[in-house]
């Protein structure tokens, strides 16, 4: 790599787009969490909406919760990160700031906001991670095409030069998602029943595995060296991890339908891929954690702290995923709250901690952005506590439900047994909601340029403009 260092002095980052997407991410996050907590309260007080509340009924809130988290919160946070990272990784600007404004408008005002309203008004599709109605899907696909136009040319214009690991995840993730999204959102409308479910299963996993995971990993691989000022532990492990992940993740989909009518060989293939994926994640996480050595479990730089905890959550959730894909485990915990706990560990633990870490990291580097380190410190501890309690609670709830389903007890017994766990789950809204509010406050109050000061405080170094060298160690 020494033969092709990025040009000295990275091109300017479009900080206004970083800021706009960052703010949109935090606002859509709070709204999505609101949908989630309302839905969770309705499991405790089912008549909360008074029976007249079509717009606030459980099913519609549930649809908006996950779509808002994936597209609103994570989508915007990823875009904010890309506007910062792509110029630094490639030494080239993104395609067009004007295009960026259009994409921002499209994503938030043609996808997320109208998607939410349409779902509440009763226009949706009953497919997991694809609940926004078809008309919205058209705009998502358009936005994904524009994202490729915006972010990938800087990578490709570098020709045959090799790229840092974050770049691979960005390229792979964006290309894959553009292809996978229509497959999950359109194909089951055209191919019925069990055959459509096979495609649906693929998308359920691709949404997490090939959209959220690669971009979250791009953040982890970016923030860790940038914040510690040390190259990643092993570029070889990074490469091994990347290729195995992109090979194995797409083959996981059918594990959402184990013991279904889908051919057993496809199920067994997916279970095998799920098992191997756990092994691969151990490689990836080992590489990341070894890169973090010396920083401590709770680094002083709060961006790094979020990111390093996100890495640990990634390890736990992936191993859990490998375990629950095994037939012996899956047959009892499938359909239960265990899985709800698993998805919160993935989206709220791994993905949201990575996205929050990435957002804080890029915020620190916007000279005019306000930054309140105390609030961000609170945010970290509140969220960490909330996630751990919530996921443990739902996991135990799932085991309790699974046990009752194995007996001849009436079905309603499992609903009764879940009630205390659901109450605790709802109560975890207090730390989690407060954690996200303090995250928003932390990034909108405090001194302008406070982030730069915080870096100097925590790392003890002047923030260097040119940090690209940490991304370009020879293999």
């Amino acid at each position: 790599m020494n033969e092709s260092p990025p040009p000295a002095g990275s091109p300017p980052v479009e900080t206004r787009l970083v800021y706009a997407h960052g703010l949109a991410a935090l606002i859509t996050l709070l709204i999505s969490v609101g949908f989630g907590v309302l839905a969770s309260i309705e499991l405790l007080i089912p008549d909360l909406a008074g029976g007249h509340g079509a717009w606030l009924s459980w099913g519609r809130l549930r649809y908006d919760h996950t779509q808002g988290i994936m597209l609103g919160w994570l989508g915007n946070a990823f875009f904010a990160f890309l506007y910062h990272a792509v110029p630094i990784l490639t030494g080239r600007s993104v395609t067009s700031a004007r295009l960026g404004q259009w994409m921002f408008g499209l994503w938030n005002f043609a996808v997320v906001a109208p998607g939410w309203v349409l779902v509440l008004a009763g226009f949706s599709q009953p497919l997991e991670w694809a609940e926004f109605p078809l008309v919205i899907d058209v705009f998502v696909v358009l936005a994904l095409v524009l994202a490729i136009v915006q972010f990938l040319p800087p990578f490709f214009s570098r020709g045959l030069e090799d790229l840092y690991v974050s770049s691979w995840y960005i390229i792979g993730g964006l290309v894959f998602t553009l292809l996978a999204y229509p497959m999950g959102n359109f194909v089951p409308e055209l191919i019925p029943g069990a055959r459509g479910a096979a495609f649906s299963g693929l998308w359920i996993h691709d949404a997490i595995g090939l959209f959220v995971t690669p971009l979250a990993l791009a953040i982890l691989y970016f923030v860790i060296p940038a914040a510690t000022r040390r190259p990643i532990f092993s570029h070889f492990l990074s490469m091994l991890g990347f290729w195995l992940l992109f090979f194995l993740y797409p083959l996981n989909g059918t594990h959402h339908y184990i013991f279904s009518v889908i051919p057993m060989s496809a199920q067994i293939g997916a279970i095998t891929a799920s098992t191997l994926l756990g092994v691969d994640v151990v490689l990836v996480v080992a590489n990341l954690l070894l890169s973090l050595r010396g920083a401590g479990w709770f680094p002083r730089d709060v961006a790094l702290r979020f990111v390093s905890t996100g890495t640990v959550f990634y390890l736990i959730v992936s191993i859990q995923g490998s375990v629950q894909a095994q037939m012996a485990v899956n047959q009892s915990v499938h359909f239960s709250d265990w899985v709800v706990g698993h998805s919160h560990l993935a989206m709220l633990g791994f993905a949201s901690f990575s996205a929050a870490g990435g957002l804080i990291h890029v915020w620190q580097r916007i000279p005019w952005a306000r930054y309140n380190p105390m609030m961000l410190g609170w945010s970290y501890w509140l969220l960490a506590a909330g996630v751990v309690v919530m996921v443990s609670d739902l996991t135990v709830a799932g085991l309790a439900e699974a046990r009752l389903w194995q007996t001849s007890a009436p079905w309603i017994e499992s609903v009764r047994a879940a009630q205390p766990f659901w109450l605790i789950r709802t109560l975890t809204f207090v730390p989690i909601g407060a954690g996200f509010v303090t995250l928003l406050i932390g990034l909108t109050t405090g001194d302008r340029g406070g982030g730069l000061l915080a870096i100097r405080d925590t790392v003890g170094l002047e923030p260097i403009k040119e940090i690209a060298p940490v991304f370009s160690e020879p293999l």
Binding site: P46, L160, F176, A197, W243, P250, F335, V340, Q406, I412
Partner: protein, 403 residues
């Protein structure tokens, strides 16, 4: 090689495009072809497609997120088959654009729901779930109604129509269809065992059936437990003191029985609890242990306050007997056992007076007003007041005694 693997073109082309194509082929297209073949071999020749109303109902089901708490997929596992019935075959979902399999079960699987509950139960339950199932967490879909459970709007009617299709095609395929599908199914022994080997297509413990064995209940039972079960599982319809006036009763036709106006034999209660009551909203309770059912029977029998029986002049009984033979026996049977020659034609079985004795007032009321929601019509235009009273007295004589 190492350098090659880090190139943007290779990353975009192989990881992004290539692995996507591979996964779609391996886990989408190929299983789809196997399933298509399976469907061709196992499907009945003419499965019933959804009507326009049923299709609209399916849209309501989809938009309200029903599939996020209720699966429509019975897995190939002993636990699933025991609880819900034969595992779901590929052809059962061929009209589902998109599929509604679901991945979470807060409520039970609904693959075979169509034949489990009566229409009035379904509507009342959609309108106010907790009036019928005390601990349910289902949202109340009252906005699909015009202010009462028996006044469904179009959406609720369509949703009901859709719910009634669940499991219909498989049931219509019948034993011949099952046998043919089993022979044609290119599937493993395990798949055959769970897909076809279930003793019943629909294993729901709530599904009412016209007849069937029922357990012998004990005439003693834990009254505290019984009271607790009654107020939780029965009070919603039958009312806390058994008068048939619970909050769930309003939308049910026929109305839930007023338990305090009847004496029952223990077997009669066992049969009702175990088999439900076909044609009415009374579900079966086969998922409750026998000692719980015994305790419930104790509570139900306790609602009836014993009163001194008047002795009647012979001529009144003779008149009652003549009226009964002329007008009632066709349905209720010569001996009052509810087994008259016409009984089989009705969706609701006529009352068996040998196992259940109405109070005089209840008996008269039924004769005068008929029983709404059942084939029992008012008799005032055909019988004189004396004849009505005599028949009301007479039918009470069939009762075989409480034990």
């Amino acid at each position: 090689m190492k350098r090659l693997l880090r190139m943007s073109y290779l990353v975009g082309g192989v990881a992004g495009l290539g692995f996507f194509a591979m996964s779609v082929l391996l886990l989408g297209v190929w299983p789809g072809r196997v399933l298509e073949q399976q469907i061709r071999g196992t499907s009945p020749d003419h499965p019933l497609a959804l009507t326009a109303s049923e299709k609209r109902g399916r849209t309501v089901y989809a938009r309200e997120g029903c599939a996020y708490c209720h699966t429509q997929q019975i897995r190939y596992l002993p636990g699933d088959v025991a609880r819900f019935g034969a595992a779901t075959l590929a052809w059962e979902t061929i009209f589902d654009y998109p599929h509604l399999w679901g991945t979470r079960r807060i409520g039970p699987d609904l693959s075979r729901e169509g034949s489990v509950r009566s229409a009035d139960w379904q509507l009342s339950h959609l309108y106010a779930p907790r009036a019928l199932v005390a601990d349910s967490v289902m949202p109340a879909f009252s906005w699909l109604f015009d202010g009462a459970p028996d006044r469904p709007r179009q959406d609720a009617q369509d949703l009901l129509a859709y719910l009634e299709t669940l499991g219909r095609d498989r049931a219509l395929a019948g034993p011949e269809g099952e046998a043919r599908a089993r022979a044609a199914c290119n599937c493993s022994d395990d798949e055959k065992r769970f897909g076809f080997g279930s003793p019943v297509l629909n294993a729901s413990p709530s599904m009412a059936r016209r007849q069937g064995d029922y357990p012998k209940l004990s005439s003693s039972g834990d009254l505290t437990r019984g009271q607790q079960l009654y107020s939780r599982d029965c009070g919603g319809c039958h009312g806390i003191s058994g008068q048939g006036n619970g909050p769930g009763a309003a939308g049910l036709h026929p109305r839930p029985e007023n338990l305090s106006e009847h004496e029952y034999t223990l077997d009669r209660l066992a049969s009702s609890l175990w088999n439900g009551s076909v044609g009415t909203a009374m579900p079966a309770w086969r998922d409750l242990p026998v000692q719980d059912l015994s305790a419930l029977a104790q509570i139900v029998r306790g609602f009836h306050a014993a009163q001194p029986e008047p002795t009647l002049p012979q001529d009144v009984l003779a008149l009652g007997s003549r009226v009964y033979a002329a007008h009632c026996a066709q349905c209720h049977g010569e001996n009052g056992a509810g087994d008259g020659s016409a009984a089989g034609q009705f969706p609701i079985a006529p009352t068996n007076f040998r196992t259940q004795r109405p109070s005089l007032a209840a008996s008269l009321r039924a004769l005068r007003n008929g029983v709404e929601g059942t084939p029992m019509a008012p008799w005032t235009s055909q019988l004189s007041e004396a004849e009505l009273s005599a028949a009301a007295y007479f039918v009470r004589g069939f009762f075989q005694g409480a034990n």
